[in-house]
């Protein structure tokens, strides 16, 4: 059984300046994600926001791969990039979102929102850096399948997490029925 206390605390600290290749790639992809997310929440063109969201979510899938969570990465690609963005595009289409620049995409309280977001970012970054300044993730793979492979994830999911899994299926069924009821009622209202 693996110890709960992480081993890299006792191991030699790699240090900030000797960044490994994984860290460099993580930083670059993280910058791409942040840029795409910023464009998503600030652009005036609504369809472009959905397309930049694809870049951000795909970049997060790459980050999952770098954190050795392969199964989560492919689930992210399938569900978020594959279905959620398509749903959002359909939502934009069905609400007759204007093609091209729409000047009223941002609310009037955007400066208040910017203040709140910057304050939250400053506080949280300070706290997180202060808390995890000396912790390292050990991504080395020793033997056997990786920690995030579908074998390990499936074993954990269907051995220890069966009850939440089944409850989640009930929740998905409820969401399905709810979505059908909502769209049926609006269709009956049209006729």
């Amino acid at each position: 059984m693996n110890p709960v206390v992480p081993q890299p605390l006792a191991a030699g600290h790699p240090g900030f300046l000797s960044a490994t290749g994984v860290e460099v790639v993580f930083l670059l992809v993280g910058l791409v994600i942040l840029g795409a997310a910023l464009v998503t929440v600030t652009t005036k063109q609504l369809v472009h926001a959905a397309l930049w969201l694809v870049v951000a979510l795909g970049g997060i899938a790459v980050e999952y791969l770098l954190l050795t969570a392969e199964f989560i990465a492919w689930v992210q690609v399938l569900i978020y990039v594959g279905s959620v963005v398509v749903l959002l595009l359909f939502g934009l289409m069905l609400t007759r979102a204007p093609i091209g620049r729409s000047p009223d995409a941002d609310s009037g309280n955007r400066w208040v929102a910017l203040t709140v977001a910057l304050a939250a970012a400053a506080t949280l970054v300070t706290v997180v850096i202060d808390a995890f300044r000396a912790t390292w993730i050990d991504l080395e793979q020793r033997t056997g399948p990786g920690k995030g492979s579908s074998e390990v994830t499936g074993t954990a999911l269907f051995r220890h997490w069966v009850l939440p899994f089944e409850a989640l299926s009930v929740l998905l069924l409820a969401a399905l029925v709810g979505a059908i009821v909502l769209s049926r009622r609006q269709k009956a209202g049209e006729r």
């Binding site: 059984m1 709960v4 992480p6 900030f16 993580f26 994600i33 942040l34 997310a37 929440v41 609504l46 959905a50 969201l53 951000a56 979510l57 997060i60 969570a69 989560i72 689930v75 978020y80 959620v84 749903l87 959002l88 609400t95 007759r96 979102a97 009223d104 941002d106 609310s107 009037g108 955007r110 208040v112 929102a113 910017l114 709140v116 977001a117 939250a120 949280l124 850096i129 995890f132 390292w136 993730i137 991504l139 920690k147 995030g148 994830t153 954990a156 999911l157 220890h160 989640l168 929740l171 998905l172 969401a175 399905l176 979505a179 909502l182 769209s183 009622r185 609006q186 209202g189 006729r191």
Partner: protein
């Protein structure tokens, strides 16, 4: 890998999503920003699962659950947004002021003045479960022109 990298990235992504939720006016764009915030939380979960080397894989299992719940949330949310758009003719969050306190009655809201559809029953009446009572006359009225 240093744990501060994914943690700080998740924090910044969460704050970008927070700005989007607060500053956007279109409801679909608000849902996109909510997706960004949920992804920031997922990134945190995966990073801490890789750090703690949990034998139960609680972080990755919870990430899968979060992704599924987010998919359900985006489906229901878009259905509600489409319903509001059909009823009100607009999906702007700033104009949906029926539940606001003191900002003026629902008949005199700035967005509703220009729209003729706000004089119809508000959306809350449609949601309170009297579907069979409304469905029968509407379907009967729908058959008449057809």
């Amino acid at each position: 890998m240093h744990l501060a990298y994914p943690a700080v990235l998740a924090v910044l992504l969460f704050c970008v999503g927070l700005y989007g939720v607060l500053a956007r006016r279109n409801a679909v764009l608000v849902l996109m920003a909510v997706e960004l915030m949920l992804n920031a939380v997922n990134l945190n979960l995966v990073a801490f699962d890789a750090w703690l080397r949990d034998t139960l894989h609680a972080g990755q299992a919870l990430t899968l659950f979060t992704i599924a719940i987010a998919a359900a949330e985006i489906g229901i949310g878009l259905a509600i947004v489409l319903l509001v758009h059909r009823n009100r003719g607009s999906s702007d969050i700033d104009r949906l002021r029926d539940l606001s306190e003191g900002g003026g009655p629902s008949t005199g809201d700035p967005g509703g003045g220009s729209r003729e559809e706000t004089s119809v029953t508000p959306a809350t009446d449609n949601d309170t479960g009297n579907g069979p009572d409304q469905g029968v006359p509407e379907s009967a009225a729908g058959r008449r022109p057809a």
